[in-house]
Symmetry: C2
Subunit: 342 residues, 2 copies
């Protein structure tokens, strides 16, 4: 039986539609950044003025280059999906490409698309929709090693940090998989479960399915969600933590934020508080859980104070502290492998 | 706009079908125990050999007595719903009674029932299905007072204790509402949200909707779910805790249990550990949260040791400690009103 995890096949072509601003193509640009080796090119409609920096292909060329999936990498401005997009998606589905998207509506609701896919045997993959058959969490110990990214808030670098850690582990020849828990992550990984959309009772079980038994020295690097001190979303964070049973975790933090983003009445927790709570709850399924690093977003800091801020957090926590976008994650991976020798 | 909460109308008739064992009629018997004043009678099919101790009525008599809802109070043995049950439910729906159930299938899937209800304008209320429109939790402070029952495990008296506390508060003339979070509780209350079935992201929001702003001295007594140390369900417990923002909580415990029921690898937490964790996480939305009592299930203890066990837990915790089924909840309500004078 297949595990209850969303899954689709590489290589892929990234569909950008006809948008004129990169802001609406974050998913597409992220796909090219993190999975360039699996991208056969970009499919752009005539009026598209943005460029992801990969070859332009049409449906036939994408198929000829081996593409198995078309990933919708842009958000249509204004909510609806334009007819011109739907026509191109139908053409791709008829040609046998699986269509992958994280739209607010189901792909099967786009006129003609379900029939086009059925005709060729292509699949429609909605990455916002959890797969059926997710069980309740058992808490049972699984083989292999796991690292979870956590944060002092939402949107502070948990996905990026996890991807960068996975990349650095692989660079060193260590077996590793990025495990995706949100829609963009699932598109990048080609696999995952959108945890925020899972029914509450099955959240720990979903996290367990996401990082199954593996080889003793294999690392699953799990994309974190929410924050353990977040008044709206902490339940997702807690379920993911206990179901993932991580050996190690990395705290992601934006040093300029003072309150929870969008919840201005709530003070941002300190890194120390997040570490303490994560260890306290994480011990339930992994008594040896420990923090191995801090990932800071320094992009909005004045250039001259960047090193100073990193050094201050490193001194405060006694942990390697990096901005993965600037410094990479090598110091954290050094610490990880020191604590958990391969 | 109506709040996103399941709601149906009293008085009700309880439908027991044709079962021959009280084990399958827990819901029906609970309804009669807790809401006798709103029950016009029981509707039994010819072969039914159990008796909830209320007058037998047919559909016409139930309507004549003012019933607005028929509540399915039995579980059909073997899973499916027998044709004889469906025929009687259709008759009741045609007569204008709302049909309320917590079945594994939707009421609308029973042959003819949706049409029968549509013909009279009756509603089909599935108490396992969360209402649409639940928002994300805001963490905003609400007026009024709240008490939450928590537990060292699932199925250790959280619903019963909450109902008994609500009853004792009302007996003393203090404004109080029992707030239901599970299917049986919702049937008893006529209102509630089945939290285990809510999508993870909206769990804190659902808990907020369940105990809205109220008069300053009004108590919402919220039915707890799961346990803060449960490897499968703690995310539900945590979301309910933070969304409910309780002023006070009561810990429910079965003194004979040594491991989490159904999770034998997990040691049952101590009452002290549950108090510490509940305070630690509950402070996020209510910094003054405190424990006001312990509710023990002593039914399986030898009679001579009951008082001794209660006294031991009272000494260990410094809190009033009762078995609500035997002793009532007066000592806990005394403590509550001492800590929070009306």
């Amino acid at each position: 039986m297949n595990p209850p995890v969303i899954q689709f096949s590489y290589p892929f072509v990234v569909f950008l539609g006809d948008i004129d601003s990169e802001i609406y193509a974050k998913t597409g640009f992220g796909m090219v950044q993190w999975r360039r080796e699996s991208c056969v090119g970009q499919l752009r409609l005539p009026d598209c003025s943005i460029d992801a920096g990969v070859p332009d292909v049409d449906v036939a060329a994408a198929r000829a280059a081996g593409a198995k999936s078309l990933i919708i990498g842009s958000a249509a401005v204004g909510g609806g999906i334009p007819d011109t997009w739907v026509a191109k998606l139908c053409e791709a589905a008829r040609a046998g490409l699986d269509i992958v998207a994280g739209l607010h509506i189901r792909l099967s609701a786009l006129p003609g698309l379900a029939a086009a896919a059925a005709a060729s045997g292509a699949r429609l993959v909605d990455v916002r929709v959890p797969p059926p058959g997710i069980p309740v969490g058992t808490g049972g110990k699984r083989t292999g090693r796991r690292l979870l990214t956590v944060g002092t808030d939402c949107a502070c670098g948990k996905k990026y940090t996890a991807l960068a850690l996975d990349q650095e582990l692989r660079r060193r020849g260590i077996a590793s998989d990025f495990r995706a828990t949100g829609q963009t992550g699932i598109m990048i990984a080609g696999r995952g479960i959108p945890l925020d959309a899972v029914v509450a009772d099955f959240l720990t079980g979903a996290a367990e399915q996401l990082s199954p038994d593996n080889a003793a020295n294999h690392w699953d690097v799990v994309e974190g969600q929410g924050s353990i001190c977040h008044p709206g979303y902490l339940q997702v964070t807690v379920g993911l933590l206990v179901g993932s049973q991580p050996d190690a975790f990395v705290v992601c933090h934006d040093p300029l934020r003072e309150t929870i983003s969008g919840w201005p009445e709530f003070k941002l927790p300190s890194i120390a508080e997040v570490i303490e709570r994560t260890v306290s709850l994480g011990r339930l399924t992994n008594p040896a859980i420990r923090c191995v690093g801090v990932s800071l977003n320094t992009s909005k800091l004045p250039k001259h104070s960047r090193q100073q801020v990193l050094a201050r957090f490193a001194a405060e926590t006694g942990l390697p502290c990096v901005d993965p976008l600037v410094d990479g994650t090598a110091p954290i991976v050094d610490r990880l492998l020191q604590e958990f020798p391969p």
